[in-house]
């Protein structure tokens, strides 16, 4: 499973006027990794799919990304 967030540590100068933001994050949703969607992938029940906006868990990307345990 690919991670939905990537991060980097931008350069900060001691002369910067604002306190530095140490880590910058950006989203990398599942469509970047799936390629041509294979047939027969697991599906959500219909009602759940209508609420989530997608039929297949493989393409579901909750936002803001839930924070789990040691994951950033």
């Amino acid at each position: 499973m690919n991670t939905p967030i990537k991060w980097y540590h931008p350069y900060a100068s001691t002369a910067d006027p604002c306190p530095p933001i140490e880590w910058k994050y950006y989203q990398t949703p599942p469509n970047l990794y799936l390629g041509f969607q294979p047939t027969g992938l697991p599906q959500y029940p219909l009602k759940e799919a209508l609420y989530k906006g997608v039929l297949w868990p493989v393409l579901f990307d909750p936002y803001p990304t839930p924070i789990r345990g040691e994951d950033r």
Binding site: Q27, P29, P30, N31, L34, G35, F36, Q37, P38, T39, L50, Y51, K52, G53, V54, L59, F60, D61, P62, Y63, P64
Partner: protein
């Protein structure tokens, strides 16, 4: 032609009158990467794209109008009971002077919608890559609006719309895969 279903694609609920949030949300109504731009871009590109992906552009372009209607409902609900004073405080004084409580196709900074937001290069790969970029930009816009919004009901609808951008991007990426396939060869997906 189209059939109209007299309901929204996803329910729109708004917790409180919040004209400032409406000001940000209008970006997805009449902004460069908004739903109007998306619908018109895809439905216009259909005519000069290979037959295999015309249906995809029709389907997604049509859904974008359903999204446009949801955004309109959100903006309307967020502002309908706001007094001129409240609109002024939210930075919508200029909008009120011109439009009263009416919606208008402009972005969060007040720039009116323009056809220069959408492209039709006629090159199928160029056009589909633009469509993928448009979906990712709309996804990002939803993220930035969710980040600024503290209305849980509204965010619920915005998260649905963001997820749809991801699915659309996926389908456009698949359309590129279809168009770049070598011809006269067997393909198994």
């Amino acid at each position: 032609m189209w059939y109209y279903e007299k309901k929204l694609q996803y329910p729109v609920k708004v917790s409180e009158c919040n004209p400032r949030l409406a000001k940000y949300l209008i970006e997805q109504y009449g902004g460069a990467d908004g739903e109007l731009s998306a619908a018109l871009r895809y439905l216009n590109q259909r005519y000069s794209i290979p037959d295999k992906v015309i249906g995809l552009l029709t389907d997604i372009g049509t859904e974008e109008f359903a999204h446009l209607e949801m955004i309109a409902a959100m903006v309307y609900k967020l502002t309908k009971d706001a007094t001129p004073e409240q609109l002024k405080e939210a930075g919508l004084g200029a909008h009120y002077a011109n439009h009263d409580h009416a919606l208008f196709y402009h972005d969060a900074a007040g720039n009116p919608w323009t056809a220069t937001y959408i492209q039709a290069k006629g090159d199928p790969i160029a056009d589909l890559y633009e469509d993928i970029a448009a979906e990712e930009k709309a996804r990002a816009t939803y993220q930035w609006i969710i980040n600024m919004s503290d209305d849980p009901c509204l965010n619920d609808s915005l998260k649905f719309l963001r997820e749809r951008e991801i699915v659309h991007s996926q389908r456009f990426r698949e359309a590129v895969e279809i168009l770049k396939q070598e011809q006269n060869r067997k393909h198994i997906f």
